[in-house]
Point group: C2
Chain length 543, copies 2
């Protein structure tokens, strides 16, 4: 038996586009004499379709697309994910795997364990199925599984060997086809392989896993489809973030002995995820060009480099917008970076505009002292200028704030928090430094001075981040323990952190929820990103 | 038996505050010789607690608070909603009703049908229970029910008489205590009464319903607690949006014959909901003062009036920010309104600032013609000025955009879409007119000219909303059918609407998701508001 896996960039709600891609892939598989071709979970409608799934018209289109796809299921079987309606009650929807062959739908199985964690809301849309997908095809017993939770119980523990054999009725399974819509985190790939290994040990079946690779807004999809043989050897792992279709003979898979290792370190993965997250975002919305403000600091420098890798330097332009509080070295660092990168840059001093605001506000402000108001005005003038160039020339503004700042509310709403997409909003400041070092690993792209100098927003004379925030090497581990691990202030203090500091950090995170509610979608790389996967009431006061 | 219902404004995560309020209410009930006091669903921790429910520390605090409350459950029983942990597996959480008496927890029942619709994500946090809450207390059989779905099947149909009697084992139920966390929509109160009537007809029990009344950000809670006797007569319905505690003798309830009618029309309800939504938002975040821009148009006029009703005129200040494109009548209308309302206003012309931007952008823009870029600059200058006064004097900026604009993307991101709270974002433009008429019902508060003139953003010479948008009386019903009723473009066209127009509207709604993703929490009054209850991928393209 020959099996084709199609890791394709599907578009949400663009059924014509998706079926055209699928038909191409089916034709490729036929040319290569494949018996089965596998597409990911929810391939037909794109992932995550979210509340489009509540629209009858959307489900109708999806079902029509499956019918069209059936016409191509001759001389090959197609395994594909899509929503399906209950045959007795059409208000009930399932997350299903379709098995198409001989020009018709041979069987439809429904996802058993729905995911309602983090960014997933499957119970909002779907009812859980209760029958395992086991079919016989060309004398092989095939198990069809859907989603990262497929082999977990609803108590979140992996199926035991007994449970597995009970499910199969002790029938021998030859191969598991696992279709997924599994968002990237820098830990996810190894988790998937661990689950596959455990199930392979139990089932003694070879394991084919196919995932989405089109990032959608904040949700990065890495693909990372893979094949593991019945001995638990990873025969192949697809390139991340990229469209790939490959074909495998089940005999060759069974007999393969060399393990592929695609293991990448965290910063390498985050770097690749962000570049492809930007790229897919722009492709999906039909845009090409980006703009950002370069301050001479490290966040905008790293964002610019990632944007260039994603979109090409000809599609990036930057603004430098110094004020009376800007240091010469910041302007020099920004210019040096732009020149290193070979991108178009403009310099607009904001002094003139800033003073005009102050003059016009003077009748209201009188002699009140300079405070955060005037700092915010500067940040907001820069946002207006960025957006003006964005609007005039059709460049999408990229947001350059990092996760540490987002947590602490260290940023100006409608100022530096503006942008259509937040590139670094799920990357702690200490990780931004690691990214900068990674970018500079072969040569100095980001000026060394941008990396080594003390970070500053330069909104008043001599300002440093450390005036308002703890040092990042102290702050970031505390943020990580709360945000990613869900630890309490008490636990973090008991682990040896300063009580006042921890409490202050918790209060800041809680208090600044209103800012995060209004910022751009954040490219998600960790297990807990601000945004859709973290839902905190703006009026709550628990910290 | 005497029963007390406590419709109280609980705070999310503020356990000390909540227990103090509960103890006061318990003492009141004792003084009034009550046998039972009832608090709403999730009263202990506040509603909606959202992802705080994923924090162990939060659940620990909630459990401790229940323990403290037990100490007050002497000579009275307490019915109260809170999360509970499974006794065998403490990672499993339920949405529970506690029955406290004789100083201890007598029983805990778990919500049976979880809600995952609209703003609710209960499967994200909770496991469903499987035992109905029926207890005997003081020789009465009491059914304890949780949440608006309590008497529905998981297929969303109301329990049949047979099903009900099967649940009770044909035991006679004397009273139903229904604790809820049921968000306001202008249709909700009548739905609740309808369900209660159906269950009363089946059960022949009297029915006590208690709900939250503290709005939290976008989520307005109306209270509307009520008592229905065993004949289906509504004995009392609590004032909406207000803290109220009342005590009822079950004998008097049983024998009452006069039906209370609290029926209010839609605009009256929306008006009250918005006023209390603003008020609670400010109370919950510990703020008092608001600012907004007055344009002379109807949206800002209605928002100003609602804000004054919520916060008092001494806490509202407004800015008028005319440009070269502003008409004299707009300025006159705005000044007239501010004077009618007796609020502090300042006038800052934006011409000077606008021209400074254009001068500074000239080296980049050259001779490119005036377009939406320059319109957006004006809107954004106004946002900066509003935010500057907000920052300097501690006023929260109120957003004044309406639902029709939000749907069509007719507004400037980081401009008129700014603000900490969107007051009218769930109110269609045609409803804003109705609100204005309602406000003016006794005397002209909003200048008549603001209501009758053609709406305009005045961002270029002679601009009218109707240059960019369909007439609102045509647009709004189409928006309603899509957004609230989930109808497809095809259905709306087949009902007699212009095909090109409907398709254009659908495309605009879809395309402008990115703007809505970055706007403030919207006070929710309809069955489908933009925000947390409507989740559309920013990169989707289904329309």
């Amino acid at each position: 038996m020959k099996i084709s896996l199609a890791q394709i960039k599907f578009r949400i709600g663009n059924f014509e586009y998706n079926i055209a891609k699928m038909i191409d892939a089916v034709e490729q598989a036929k040319v290569n004499h494949c018996d089965i071709i596998c597409f990911p979970e929810m391939a037909v409608c794109g992932f995550p379709a979210m509340d489009y799934l509540l629209l009858d018209a959307f489900i109708d289109e999806s079902i029509k697309t499956i019918e069209k796809l059936c016409q191509h299921a001759h001389d090959i079987a197609i395994v594909v994910g899509a929503p399906s309606r209950d045959i007795h009650n059409n208000t009930i929807l399932y997350n299903s795997v379709y098995f198409l062959a001989n020009g018709t739908i041979q069987s439809v199985f429904h996802k058993l364990i729905l995911s309602n964690q983090d960014i997933n809301d499957e119970s909002r849309y779907f009812t859980a199925g209760n029958i395992w997908g086991i079919i016989e095809y060309q004398h092989k017993m095939i198990m069809l599984a859907i989603g990262d939770n497929a082999f977990f119980t609803d108590q979140n523990s992996l199926l035991t060997e007994d449970a597995f054999h009970k499910i199969t009725g002790n029938t021998n399974i030859d191969l598991v086809i696992h279709i997924a819509a599994s968002p990237f985190t820098y830990l996810r790939a190894s988790e998937r392989l661990k689950t596959a290994k455990a199930i392979t040990d139990i089932s003694k079946a070879s394991y084919y896993y196919v995932n989405h690779c089109n990032s959608q807004g904040d949700i990065i999809m890495d693909g990372g489809s893979f094949i593991m043989n019945d001995k638990g050897i990873v025969i192949d792992e697809f390139p991340y973030f990229t469209e790939v279709q490959k074909h495998y003979s089940s005999d060759l898979v069974a007999n393969a002995t060399s393990q592929v290792t695609n293991k990448k370190d965290k910063i390498h993965l985050i770097h690749a995820a962000l570049v492809h997250g930007i790229q897919d975002y722009f492709n999906n919305i039909g845009q090409k060009k980006a703009i950002l403000g370069l301050s001479g600091g490290i966040d905008s420098a790293v964002t610019a480099v990632l944007a260039i890798e994603a979109l090409g330097k000809e599609n990036i332009r930057v603004l430098m917008m110094p004020s009376e509080f800007s240091t010469q070295h910041s302007i020099d660092d920004a210019v040096k970076l732009a020149e290193n990168l070979g991108i178009h840059y403009d310099i607009i001093s904001i002094e003139d505009i800033y003073n005009t605001y102050l003059n016009n506000l003077n009748p209201i402000f009188g002699d009140l002292p300079f405070n955060v108001t005037e700092e915010n005005i500067q940040a907001r003038i820069r946002a207006i200028l960025n957006m003006a160039v964005s609007n005039k020339f059709g460049h999408i503004l990229l947001n350059t704030s990092n996760k540490s700042e987002a947590a602490m509310g260290y940023g100006t709403l409608y100022g530096d928090l503006c942008g259509g997409l937040s590139v670094l909003g799920d990357v702690y400041k200490t990780e931004v430094y690691e990214l900068a070092r990674y970018i500079n690993k072969n040569r100095e792209i980001i000026p060394e001075h941008s990396i080594t100098k003390a970070p500053s927003a330069e909104l008043r004379v001599g300002q440093k981040d450390s005036d308002s925030l703890p040092e990042y090497n102290i702050l970031d581990p505390i943020l990580y323990q709360y945000l990613e691990l869900g630890k309490s202030a008490k636990e973090i203090i008991e682990a040896g952190n300063d009580e006042l500091l921890v409490k202050r950090i918790f209060r800041s995170i809680n208090f600044n929820e209103f800012k995060r509610r209004q910022t751009a979608p954040i490219l998600r790389v960790s297990t807990k990103s601000f945004g859709h996967g973290r839902r905190i009431p703006v009026t709550g006061n628990f910290s």
